[in-house]
């Protein structure tokens, strides 16, 4: 480009530049020297909605059946938690439990509507898992008055007015009903605006959770409906069999979003059914679930964990995730969903062969051998570097 003299109409002062620094100093000089105000509205709201941690006390325990209990949690004021973070129906909290020298975190979907949080109360519902360290601890040991540290609400299994259809067909099995109880209650509270039909499958009548609460909402709300399906019991009041193509077709409207929550078997069954019905991905949303993985190794491997500039030597069995071994050892590793979605446990694989079903790694993370220990199993001795 040619450098020509450019006429700048009316702009003849070339002292501007010289004065800039002094003028700036003058303005600063006139300004206040009082302490900096650090109360910011957006940051204050962030602390309320997403506190780094919350401390709660078990206020009440409700026995749902022999193997399921609901725990009502309230703020533990002795730990300076005075209110609980608001959440969206379908979200979970991670509860931290120390047992026998291990530090464990487990995600539990909140089994109440978001309005409860405003009234300083959360509910989580825990089902006994055979051999499960945490579920058995909760069902057998935890009493009213116990205190816990929990995370802020997390998770994206939530309704969006922009993305999802007005009609939601919820497909649930067993404990999978929890997020939909929360959604149904949120509709009742006026905090969620959609039409909700729940197809709820359980083995027997006695296995159905929250029937009273759900039936109560159905009576009061025209836009909430629940259809119970029993797979191992015949009862005239209920449908029997499975949630199949016909049933889903029957309860689908022209525009329906499908929300799925239940056991791993239930997911693979429903995925198959929805595939047969040609439902595009856009209309199908899953709660947290672990994909199937075939584990062959029956060996125990050496897991070397590098954290905080120290090295720890652990044992990890081929059928155990790296995270499980780390939790058991008492190393405090942050984690959330335990199915490779939230990304909190992301760590670097320094060496070793592993097996994983991870679909949620960032593209560049893959290039640098980052993994999610919560869904990764060893196939040789492994060296792993934690984030801190």
């Amino acid at each position: 480009m040619q450098m020509n003299k450019i006429e700048l109409k009316g702009l003849n002062n070339d002292k501007n530049f010289q004065n800039m620094g002094k003028e700036r100093e003058k303005i600063i000089h006139k300004s206040s020297s009082k302490p900096i105000v650090t109360e910011y509205k957006a940051n204050a709201l962030a602390k309320k909605l997403h506190p780094e941690e919350q401390y709660v006390k078990v206020e009440k325990i409700i026995k749902e059946n022999d193997d399921v209990k609901t725990f009502v949690l309230v703020p533990d004021k002795s730990e300076n938690t005075n209110s609980l973070a608001y959440f969206q129906a379908g979200q979970y909290i991670t509860i931290i439990v120390e047992i026998d020298g291990g530090i464990y975190r487990r995600p539990y979907t909140l089994s109440c509507s978001p309005k409860h949080a405003l009234n300083h109360e959360y509910m989580i519902t825990i089902k006994r898992v055979r051999g499960g360290i945490i579920s058995n601890y909760f069902l057998d040991e935890v009493q009213e008055g116990f205190s816990f540290k929990i995370s802020a609400p997390l998770g994206n299994f939530c309704y969006s007015t922009i993305r999802d259809c007005k009609h939601v067909l919820a497909l649930a099995s067993g404990r999978g009903i929890i997020p939909f109880l929360s959604m149904a209650e949120a509709i009742y509270d006026g905090n969620l605006k959609c039409n909700l039909t729940i197809l709820y499958k359980a083995k027997t009548k006695d296995d159905l959770l929250f029937r009273e609460k759900l039936d109560d909402i159905i009576c009061k709300m025209e836009n909430v409906n629940v259809v119970y399906v029993l797979s191992e019991e015949d009862d005239n009041e209920f449908l029997s069999g499975d949630i199949d193509e016909d049933l889903i077709r029957q309860y689908s409207t022209e525009e329906t979003s499908y929300f799925v929550s239940g056991s791993p078997d239930f997911y693979s069954h429903i995925n198959e059914v929805l595939k047969n019905l040609d439902i595009p991905k856009k209309f199908v949303r899953h709660d947290l679930f672990k994909g199937e993985i075939e584990l062959k190794s029956n060996e125990e491997y050496l897991l070397t964990v590098i954290s905080d500039e120290r090295e720890y030597s652990l044992k990890c069995h081929g059928k155990e995730t790296l995270l499980q071994a780390i939790e058991k050892s008492g190393i405090d590793i942050k984690s959330g969903c335990h199915v490779g979605v939230c990304g909190l446990c992301r760590s670097k694989l320094i060496s070793g062969k592993v097996k994983t079903i991870d679909e949620n790694l960032r593209a560049i993370d893959k290039s640098y051998n980052y993994i999610h220990p919560c869904i990764t199993y060893p196939e040789s001795d492994v060296i792993l570097k934690l984030p801190n």
Partner: protein, 511 residues
């Protein structure tokens, strides 16, 4: 107790570059980051089968091997260019004006850009040529001043950069008027003013024209694996060069010994020592919370109190279940605006009824940005004040975000005639709350301090050395001298590290 040569608070763009530069020169560096990954805003996140960039829409100043920009040269000097893959942005921008249903589509390349503008506004050619000539002169003048800072010699400026001296403190609109640019051409040219965060009656001409020159001449790029690709590559290189990055670590206090900075204390009580403390966090946070008041000079408080926070971010990320082509999204960079009057639009950004925003269709630069037959759209705008926070509370927060997002998506559809809602498979929305939470920046600002009047680029540059209040305590982020864009934060970090190296070696960092 391990001692370090420099401690970095936050793994943000500027700090990552500075730490790498120092580590490569044998410095023992420690980086403390409160999140579990590096990058601050330069990050990505996954929803379903989509990986979204949290903030980058296009990277200025990179250029290419043939025509290297400032960033290319910087990355080259750190041996990074073969570690990061970039994709070219195809066109400059396509602006849609909703009040009169006009639209203008502008290409990259100085000649093409000027030709296209002449088509839209006859008799604008001459003024555009002048504009780009001034832009180039401003770039060169900035280079000179950046090198000499407080020792800048006015005689040199007057003889080598005579036009620059006449316009140094003036706004975009003042100078465009002075070169007789037709009003319409001014408005189209400056349609992407919101990239800079200020309307053109306030935006510094020097800043705008110098950036715009490189923008049109060299084009822009995005990393193929999102901005997190740059962040992670930088972090990995720091570690490879002996640096230590500790994530999930929040610095609570900056420590002093014999009236000099000596280290930091973390929220868990751990203490780390170093003679240099480099802050990726805002001066507000540092002076407001992290330093005992007896160590804070009065002028540091005065300066910080005199400044105003820049725009608070609002962004929408959409994963669509059709390809961009099938949907009819043919451009990479859309600007949707009610009018071309930047002052008017800026005022509206003081309410949640904002009607000016930018939309990027990532796959139109990088086809592999998402799975086959899908595409990613990224909407962004900002609020000039607390308007969002005045309306938001915990129980209406999620609904409020969706309302605003829905309005912007509808506006996009109405303006372009391209229907996108039926294809939305994934959506995420970031508000000032999100940015405040993730980056900890005050009010969720993504522009650092507002660049206006005597807090514009040039006055910041000239007084930079005078405003170094506490020895060896440095600020290194979008709150710094060169403002908050991706390119400038990387360049800021490099300059800071070079100055530290120079003070050790007693040589001029810029030689």
């Amino acid at each position: 107790m391990t001692k370090y040569d420099a401690i970095f608070i936050g793994a943000n763009n500027s700090n990552l570059i500075a730490a790498l530069r120092l580590a490569k020169n044998g410095y023992k560096v420690l980086m403390l980051e409160k999140n579990h990954i590096p990058g601050g805003c330069s990050t990505s996140f996954i929803r379903g089968r989509f990986e979204f960039d949290a903030s980058l829409q296009e990277l200025y100043e990179y250029g290419s091997t043939e025509e290297p920009g400032l960033l290319y040269k910087l990355f080259q000097s750190l041996d990074l260019n073969d570690q990061i893959r970039f994709a070219d942005i195809p066109n400059a921008f396509h602006v849609y004006v909703s009040s009169n249903h006009e639209n203008y589509k502008l290409p990259f390349g100085l000649r093409n850009f000027i030709d296209k503008m002449e088509e839209y506004v006859s008799d604008s050619r001459e003024s555009l040529e002048k504009f780009f000539q001034l832009g180039l002169e401003c770039r060169n003048a900035l280079k000179y001043i950046g090198k000499h800072k407080a020792n800048t010699r006015y005689e040199v400026l007057l003889s080598d950069y005579p036009h620059f001296m006449k316009i140094a403190n003036l706004s975009v609109s003042t100078v465009l008027n002075a070169i007789n640019m037709p009003r319409k051409a001014q408005e189209i040219l400056a349609a992407n003013w919101s990239y800079f965060g200020s309307p053109i009656d306030t935006l510094s001409f020097v800043q705008f024209s110098s950036t715009f020159y490189s923008y049109i001449a060299r084009g822009t790029k995005i990393p193929r694996k999102t901005s997190f690709e740059i962040s992670l590559v930088l972090a990995e290189n720091i570690v490879d060069n002996g640096g230590y990055i500790k994530y999930l670590s929040t610095v609570e206090e900056i420590l002093f010994e014999n009236d000099k900075v000596s280290g930091v204390k973390l929220s868990n009580g751990d203490i780390y020592e170093a003679p240099y403390i480099i802050c990726g966090v805002s001066p507000n946070e540092v002076y407001g919370k992290m330093i005992p008041s007896k160590y804070i000079p009065k002028n540091a408080l005065k300066l910080t109190n005199s400044r105003v926070l820049g725009g608070r971010g609002f962004a929408i990320y959409l994963g669509l279940n059709q390809s961009a082509k099938e949907i009819g999204l043919n451009d990479y960079s859309y600007i949707i605006t009610n009018t071309l009057d930047s002052r008017k639009e800026y005022e509206k950004m003081g309410t949640t009824n904002v009607e000016h925003f930018r939309v990027s269709v990532i796959n139109n630069a990088n086809i592999a940005a998402s799975p086959k037959n899908t595409c990613i759209m990224q909407f962004s705008t900002f609020f000039t004040n607390d308007c969002f926070m005045k309306l938001a509370n915990p129980s209406n927060y999620y609904e409020l975000k969706e309302q605003i997002a829905n309005r912007l998506i509808t506006l996009f559809e109405d303006m372009t005639g391209i229907i996108i809602k039926p294809f939305i498979e994934e959506i995420e929305i970031s508000s000032p709350e999100t940015f405040a939470r993730y980056t900890n920046q005050p009010e969720g600002t993504i522009y650092g301090f507002k660049a206006t009047g005597l807090d514009n680029l040039l006055p910041r540059m000239i007084n930079e050395e005078n405003e170094q209040f506490i020895d060896n305590l440095k600020f290194n982020s979008g709150f710094g001298t060169y403002l908050s864009s991706y390119a400038t934060t990387y360049l800021t970090g490099n300059e800071l590290a070079m100055n530290i190296l120079a003070s050790r070696e007693g040589v001029d960092a810029n030689e």
